[in-house]
Symmetry: C2
């Protein structure tokens, strides 16, 4: 209550609601590593200097949400991920040449889960591509909480480790909250530590790490020239991994954010008013075309396995959004797979590089 007015350094105007000084002074969050490597062309003044002119991202089309177009743009994450990986690799080479050090990422796995091992495999492969050293500790399914904390502690104090990932979900007998609290905030490359989450929520503060999924979402939007500032954004879902943190990051980018969840009544009505729709539900095809405003931009974070007898693996991966319906209505939409996913992995590499540069004071 008190000093609330002082908090509002900006001036609000009747009718116009124009933003003044206060908000303008804030910098939009992008990871230091990323901004050090390149500046996404999110303002017209940057659009001529896109770092990857061969990519489909350099069309220079300035997307205005809320307008219908003849054909929807397909937002692929692969060229973005490739571009970021190249830049991370170059930066690691520069660091190695200058100070003889490499970034190190440590992963802890408990028990065996098909999906967790698949994700770890993808991360290992990506780290290898860019030159990040990795350590993996795998503990048995019935390991004690103390043993897991021991492992995390040893990574916390290991100066060659700059990022620590505890692969979630953990078995039921382990307390995820306690374990995540134990990861040093300086090595929390997942960005799930409450200190980093709090600094993400609080405007004017910079978390050491932003979770990879929301960072990937914003990066996709910026690279595809989607305006965020002042737009109505709906985030469906509120997991810390994606939904919650994406709501917070979109708000930092001055979108007007509504967060929908399982208690929301008539979610399709609210979603239909959104310029930008981000889905983090985990139910295949839940978002149909009757949920979407013509011309909306859709970022589908769902990664759902559905049975598919025609696939050699017996299943295929699909998003939350009914792509076939949505494509007729929206102005842009991400692929699943191949949309947000690859960018998420590249953000992990970027966060790890960031952490190593901080640890070594390398700029």
């Amino acid at each position: 209550m008190e000093s609330m007015k002082i908090e509002y350094r900006r001036q609000w105007h009747y009718g116009g609601f124009l933003a003044q000084i206060g908000d303008q002074r804030e910098s939009l969050i992008l990871s230091d590593a990323l901004t050090a490597i390149f500046k996404p062309s999110h303002s017209p003044s940057h659009s001529g200097s896109h770092p990857n002119p061969q990519s489909p991202l350099s069309s220079g089309f300035h997307r205005a949400t809320g307008q219908t177009r003849s054909a929807a743009e397909i937002m692929s994450g692969k060229p973005i991920a490739k571009d970021i990986k190249l830049r991370v690799a170059a930066e690691i080479s520069r660091m190695k040449a200058a100070i003889g050090r490499l970034p190190g990422l440590a992963m802890v796995l408990v028990g065996y889960r098909e999906d967790s091992h698949a994700y770890v495999h993808i991360k290992l492969k990506a780290c290898n591509e860019v030159g990040i050293e990795t350590s993996i500790v795998q503990l048995p399914q019935d390991c004690t909480q103390d043993r897991l904390i021991d492992v995390v502690s040893s990574f916390n104090s290991n100066p060659s480790v700059h990022g620590i990932i505890v692969q979630l979900p953990l078995p039921e007998h382990l307390d995820e909250e306690t374990i995540i609290n134990f990861v040093s905030p300086e090595k929390d490359v997942d960005g799930f530590h409450p200190l980093n989450m709090g600094n993400l929520a609080l405007r004017g503060r910079e978390p050491l790490f932003i979770p990879c999924a929301p960072k990937a979402c914003i990066e996709l939007l910026l690279r595809y020239h989607v305006e965020i500032i002042g737009k109505n954004a709906v985030v469906i879902g509120r997991s810390k991994i994606a939904g919650l943190s994406t709501s917070l990051l979109l708000q930092r980018h001055h979108a007007t954010v509504s967060t929908l969840h399982s208690f929301t009544n008539n979610p399709e009505q609210i979603t239909r008013r959104a310029d930008i729709v981000v889905s983090d539900v985990g139910i295949p095809n839940i978002v149909g075309c009757n949920w979407l405003m013509p011309g909306a931009v859709v970022v589908d974070m769902g990664t759902n396995s559905v049975k598919d007898p025609n696939s050699p693996r017996g299943f295929r991966t699909t998003g939350d959004v009914c792509y076939e319906e949505a494509i007729k209505v929206v102005s842009a939409i991400t692929l699943v797979p191949g949309g947000v996913g690859p960018v998420v992995i590249s953000m992990l590499l970027s966060n790890t590089l960031d952490s190593a540069k901080r640890a070594y004071g390398f700029t």
Copy 2:
């Protein structure tokens, strides 16, 4: 992305969007101190056992937002604040009798500001009423950051101090963020430390302290039997003191929250769809009746001084909402002054008691 589906333990249904198991297991946040003292009658099963049958709050009217009524209910904070103070005082007496200890609140003031001193005076008076010991350190306007940190450090290590308030705003040359980070999260009765804010944002976690303004807002709604779960709530403003933290807390109570700010286009349109409107703007009368849905519930957190030659002080305090207009449309509205304000102060007392009980292991 990964393990997103596991994050969604609850089941979402097409059409119905019914909440299942997962969310139901979460407890709605209310401060430990408050729930230890009383349980607000926010569910029908509690409505018969309201702790204060003499108060105007015990009408048992179960407000359904979104419905018009013949006359709006005026939500006064005074009887709620009085009730909470009585309960805090009784609990402090019990603690004193049992272990011979009292809660202690420390306040740090830098320089002289009329409004800051007025707030400190109100807090001192309230602490005195319930039996909380207080210490105040006032530093000169030009004090150094190191000196201020010294003072905070000494309160951090003083076992008789259970709550520390650094009165905001600080003079420009002091870094508010650094100072707030320095307050021990265990004594952060304002709830502004990023660790506490992060734990407020993250579902399933309990911050040690919730900021007083959002706690007061929820308490008012619960005491006046306003349903929150599943309702469309709009919070206008995003200060950490009120707007941001109220958005986070309303979301913890399973409202569908949209947060509006200076970059929002057509805020009145979005606000008109809200069952619950919380205003934290700092501009007198900015929210008129054309911003409000008939039957909406309005919590006005604005505290604005406007010139008034008829007042002996030359000014009067008014909210963000044009009360005279709103009263014709809404189903319930808070007073300004006398609405959220008194409850905020009582929440500070409650947070301080909470902290002392934790420090002494007193239950």
